[in-house]
């Protein structure tokens, strides 16, 4: 707050009560007062109403209408009081330059450069050592502040590390049994053609990195799989990582008619028949495919693992 008030002593006499600046803005002050008074009474009643509404545990609507009307009416009343019944003004306040004089600025600069410069320049060694010590402190304090927060991401070479600390691995292994989120095993008869199911490797139901969308295509479509992947599906089933390669949202919408998987977050569209290649939207890469097979008992199992990291891109991804 500035302390430059206008001088207290001066030629101004006390303002007279009939000074036009002190008159209310309203042409009919009595009417304005009546309106403000009515508003304030309504406001008072509104608040009482809120108290009652709370006490009898009325619905949220009653709480809101009573509180809202109370606040609105009381606020309107006091605003009307201020706008129409208080001195109309206009009043003026002079600005004062708040910058210092040239001499004061010089003195400030000199205090720093000359007084400070004198001690620092004379003791260059101490200045350097202090700066060095502070810099070291600044760096090492980052260790606990940052490094303690979480584990380091595992390198690409350390495959088979736990998914909690590696962006490269999942819990899918050759032979992993496909289970639903409830842990129910999936058999070859579980889905009709056109059906989809979110599956996980047994023991990891609900895990983010392992989510896979299992789709049953008609057997006619299966041979359309990209070269080298014709045996990655089985009995019409194909399985893709459900993590969008754009931002990791679950690619949850399957459109059977167009054979597309759609990510609801940013509308990336993947072509199921051609190996989930992104054909539209911001996703840069196909959804990694999980090779699956069916065992003698009819259970679906992974026939290997993903050939690449699942989910969105990151620096260390080759």
């Amino acid at each position: 707050m500035s302390d430059e008030s206008p001088p207290l002593e001066g030629p101004l006499p006390p303002a007279a009560l009939d000074d036009p600046h002190l008159l209310p803005y309203a042409k009919h002050p009595e009417a304005a007062q009546a309106v403000a008074a009515v508003a304030m009474v309504i406001g008072f009643l509104g608040f009482i109403g809120f108290g009652v509404a709370y006490w009898v545990a009325a619905s949220t609507g009653w709480e809101a209408i009573t509180l809202g009307v109370g606040l609105l009416a009381l606020g309107f009343g006091v605003t009307a009081w201020g706008k129409y019944l208080m001195p109309q003004g206009p009043f003026v306040e002079e600005r004062h330059e708040f910058h210092s004089t040239e001499a004061e600025r010089d003195a400030m600069t000199a205090a720093i450069t000359e007084r400070g410069g004198m001690v620092v320049r004379r003791r260059k060694l101490l200045g350097t050592l202090f700066a060095l010590g502070s810099a070291a402190m600044g760096v090492v304090l980052l260790f606990p502040l940052l490094r303690s927060l979480g584990p380091k991401p595992a390198k690409a070479e350390d495959h088979r590390g736990p998914t909690a600390t590696s962006l490269f691995t999942t819990n899918w292994k050759k032979g992993s049994q496909l289970v639903t989120v409830d842990g129910r095993t999936v058999t070859v008869g579980d889905l009709d053609v056109g059906g989809v199911l979110t599956v996980f490797p047994r023991g990891f139901a609900g895990s983010s990195a392992d989510q896979v969308i299992l789709i049953r295509l008609s057997k006619v479509l299966q041979p359309l799989a990209p070269p080298g992947r014709t045996d990655w599906g089985v009995a019409g089933y194909v399985a893709y990582s459900k993590m969008c390669t754009h931002l990791g949202c679950p690619v949850g919408l399957y459109q059977e008619q167009t054979q597309q998987l759609v990510c609801p977050c940013h509308q990336s569209i993947f072509d199921v028949l051609s190996g989930a290649i992104p054909e539209f939207g911001p996703a840069p890469r196909p959804l990694p495919q999980l090779p699956i097979t069916v065992d003698d008992a009819g259970y679906l199992r992974a026939n290997g693992t993903f050939d690449q990291a699942v989910g969105p891109g990151f620096w260390e991804r080759p």
């Binding site: 707050m1 008030s5 207290l8 002593e9 001066g10 101004l12 006499p13 006390p14 303002a15 009560l17 036009p20 600046h21 949220t60 809101a64 209408i65 109370g70 606040l71 609105l72 009381l74 606020g75 309107f76 006091v78 605003t79 009081w81 208080m86 003004g89 206009p90 009043f91 003026v92 306040e93 708040f98 927060l149 979480g150 584990p151 380091k152 991401p153 909690a164 600390t165 962006l167 989120v181 983010s208 990195a209 989510q211 459900k242 754009h246 990791g248 949202c249 679950p250 949850g252 609801p264 977050c265 940013h266 539209f280 939207g281 911001p282 840069p284 969105p312 891109g313 620096w315 080759p318």
Partner: protein, 498 residues
Amino acid sequence: MIDKTIDKSLRWVDDRLGVAKGGRTFLDKIFPDHWSFMLGEIALYSFVVLLATGVFLSLYYVPSAHEIVYHGSYVPLRGQRVSEAYASSVGLSFDVRSGLLMRQAHHWAADIFLGSIAVHMARVFFTGAFRKPREFNWIVGVSMLILGIVNGFLGYSLPDDLVSGTGIRIAYSIIESIPLVGSYLAFFVFGGNYPGNGVIIPRFYILHVLIVPLILIGLLAAHLGLLVKQKHTQFKGKGKTEHNVVGSPMFPTFMAKTTGFLFMTTAVIFLLGGFAQINPIWQFGQYEPYQISYAVQPDWYMGWLDGALRIMPSWEWVGWGHTIPLEVFLPAVIFPGLIFNILIIWPFIESRHTKDLAYHNLLDRPRDRPKRTGAGAAMLTLLGMTFFASSTDVMANFFDLPLKSVLWFFRIAVVVAPVIAYFLAYQICNEMRAAEGIGKRKRALVVSRSATGEYTTVESDPRPGDGSEELDAVPVPTYIDLVPPELATGEGVRRVMR
């Protein structure tokens, strides 16, 4: 009696703190009377509501990802395994009296807080209120906007419902997209690969309720302190100069009006909180990383980022054994970084361009600064386009258009529309300036012929209400003769000269 008490206690305080001189100056502080100066007040008062309702919510909310079985009064959820965060958010909505009202008012207040900041900022921008000496306060304001957006996102994430969890997942991937350090940063923030080891909710919580609000309160104090120190700007008008401020005094007029405005702002927020459902988390359900709902959208102030992510082409860069997900890094890190940096340094960009180093206390009309107005219009158009692009799917459905066409429309519009907006605004400003007397009511021209046959044209008198009937502004009186002169007896009247 009460006067004596006030006098006595003020003396007691002043003996110890010396508040009288500065205090009176503060009570005399002049606030210009213009509606656009209330936009910042809306932001201030919705922040007050945020703090009050936020304290209420923090008494019931449990910041924990720990799984429990829901036993509350919302029947469809009973028996389901949910996180404590989600259970307590649903619980404080349904099992705490007034809880739903408070939670929804808190959410509405956040949306209104950021909305009013944006509009307030536009007002400051288009009228040139950021110019010397107010560059600091502009920067403080932009910082509050950024922190407000951050805290809005953090708070939105806390209930651990399906929609907010999807937002956290996207935030993780955005951090991950930063070259060199992205995966490390994401691991540190989340405590590991997504979804982390359960630390994100408590971490977001302490940021949301303590750290960010603390910084915001500090910045708010600086914002208002600078306002008092540097005094308000004002629009041109009768008796208004670069060297004064004309308007209503802090006490009592402004105080009454602003208190009323605080109440009315609060009223609107609570009415919305009670009648306009917002973020019904019990319908979304608990977040699971493999679940998703259709038409997921963030709160409005994140829309421009979401839209930028949607319209970005899939330009992932791969080479030398590394990947840079430019399709994420550019729209979600570089784009907002650029926008906020341009905003922060705008006062300096402009003063460098205009070579104008003078103090400015009188505001510009936007039309008088066509280039600035054009630049502002271009910026708003760019952000508006990315904002609308965040609902490409909804628009495609609504207008029954192919998604692809909608997307391509926005990809082109986001580049072209700002340019058009600039030139359009520039042109409109210039034409408005060229049209004489625009915005003023026309006055009739009276043509008269004199006896000698000479014609003269005179403007008629101003219409009632058009002319300046305003009084001249005077300093706020300190002493007032409370007894009308005709009744004054000389007794009991304060005769101290001002």
